[in-house]
């Protein structure tokens, strides 16, 4: 009858069996594993079943590859990119420039819209402030979405650049728009949260998929 200590050791060994199979186990741990397998039938059967199951699953689940036209299209894209890079402005800088330009235009537009004295001002004054606030909020969400291109882009952006840059940009834009940023905080490394009102259009945790950030407009 195994005692608790033995069962815990077996749980630990099952992890080590997986790591051994993937070639990620240190030599010392591998030695310990081999010694344990010699004396523990449960772990030995887990080891043997796992090895057979994985080997059969690999054969079962692996497919040949995409259609040849797909690979051809990828290589065409790869060549086009190299050509543009050598004869034009580097793409990354061009994109950064485009973002900057879009931001400047959009922010200027917003500032002009809110500050200008004139006929439109009365129209603005007549509208309920909640509606105007909502418009400003949408503006911020829209600009953040431009920066990230789309949902997948947002996730990649945060993965590559860290959430800090996106967070900071969001905060600055909210400030520019005169929105309250006290509730806009970064709770941990990959968790951005916006006040309740921004939730539908802002950043939020995509909880179940464990993708850190979601942008939707």
């Amino acid at each position: 009858m195994p005692c608790w200590g033995w069962i815990m050791k077996c749980e630990d060994m099952e992890k080590k069996i997986l790591l051994h199979e993937s070639g990620e186990l240190s030599l010392a741990d591998a030695d310990e594993l081999v010694r344990h397998l010699e004396s523990c039938t449960d772990c030995r059967s887990f080891h043997d079943d796992t090895a057979r199951l994985l080997s059969t699953a690999r054969k079962t689940l692996s497919a040949d590859g995409p259609s040849p036209r797909v690979t051809a299209a990828i290589m065409a894209e790869a060549r086009a990119r190299v050509t543009t890079r050598t004869i034009a402005i580097p793409w990354r800088r061009a994109r950064a420039f485009a973002y900057a330009a879009a931001l400047v235009i959009a922010v200027t537009g917003m500032i002009l819209f809110h500050d200008r004295k004139g006929p439109t001002d009365d129209a603005v004054a007549d509208r309920p402030s909640a509606e105007i606030e909502q418009e400003r909020i949408s503006g911020v969400g829209f600009l953040l979405a431009i920066v990230c291109e789309d949902d997948v882009g947002a996730e990649e952006y945060v993965y590559e650049q860290g959430p800090q840059n996106l967070y900071e940009l969001g905060r600055q834009l909210m400030k520019l728009e005169g929105l309250d940023t006290t509730e806009f905080m970064q709770e941990d490394d990959d968790f951005l949260s916006l006040p309740g009102a921004l939730q539908p259009i802002g950043l939020r945790r995509h909880s179940v998929d464990e993708h850190p950030v979601k942008i939707c407009v």
Binding site: E14, K15, L18, L19, S22, G23, E24, D49, T50, A51, R52, L53, L54, S55, T56, A57, R58, K59, T60, L61, S62, A63, D64, G65, P66, S67, V70, T71, A73, I74, M75, E77, A78, R79, R81, V82, R85, T86, P90, W91, R92, D151, V152, E155, E156, Y159, E160, Q161, D190, P200, H206, V208, D209, E210, H211, P212, K214, C216
Partner: protein, 204 residues
């Protein structure tokens, strides 16, 4: 010795298209097998495979020093989820009765991995799958909870190490190992009777 991913990427950055071709070829089968298993069919898998590489090509300048395979599979996985989410949204707009999707624009509780990813459907993808045991394994894998299936398929078809899966999914290695462990436990139960046959070479 095989040239490393990061060296090939560096060569492509300097304009050597052949270096990228080596990478595409290196990951052709593992990446495509992963996508095909996680999505609805060959046509979808073709499109997603292409989109993954287009994104790699476009973002190559901002890619920094993380494991390339983790990055590659992360993009693929995001695109798979994104497509499933859109499809679900489209289906519910197209006359579906889903209540939550109308108020939730398809992102949130309604689009958890388990809800958006395609459910089990027989999709023969290789010779062995045509055999009875192959079909059984294939079905059992499709019936795993989505996050366990993701780890299992990345490990088997993609040949990612656990450390690479963890990096790709933004999880701790212990979480990844636990998911793999749950997946194996379930598959072991489903395939109990067939264990005698497992490991025998079924290829023709």
């Amino acid at each position: 010795m095989e040239e490393e991913d990061k060296d090939l990427l560096a060569r492509y950055r300097q304009g050597d298209v052949d270096a990228l071709a080596v990478l595409v070829e290196r990951y052709r089968r593992p990446l495509f097998s992963f996508i095909l298993r996680m999505t609805e069919g060959k046509e979808d898998a073709d499109e997603i495979f292409q989109e993954v590489w287009v994104r790699v090509i476009r973002k190559i300048d901002s890619y920094r020093n993380k494991s390339f395979i983790s990055w590659l599979f992360r993009i693929a996985h995001n695109l798979v989820i994104d497509r499933a989410r859109r499809r679900k949204k489209f289906i519910s707009l197209d006359g579906g009765m889903s209540q939550s999707s109308s108020e939730d624009s398809g992102i949130g509780r309604d689009s958890t991995l388990s809800n958006v990813l395609p459910s089990a459907s027989p999709r023969p993808s290789s010779v062995i799958e045509a055999t009875e045991l192959g079909e059984k394994i294939s079905r059992a894998v499709d019936e795993l909870p989505a996050e366990q299936k993701t780890v299992f398929v990345m490990r088997t078809t993609g040949e990612l190490r656990f450390r690479e899966i963890a990096e790709s999914q933004g999880l701790s290695i212990n979480t990844v190992l636990a998911r793999m462990h749950y997946a194996l436990s379930k598959l072991r139960i489903v395939l109990q009777e067939d264990y005698a046959m497992l490991g025998v070479d079924h290829e023709m």
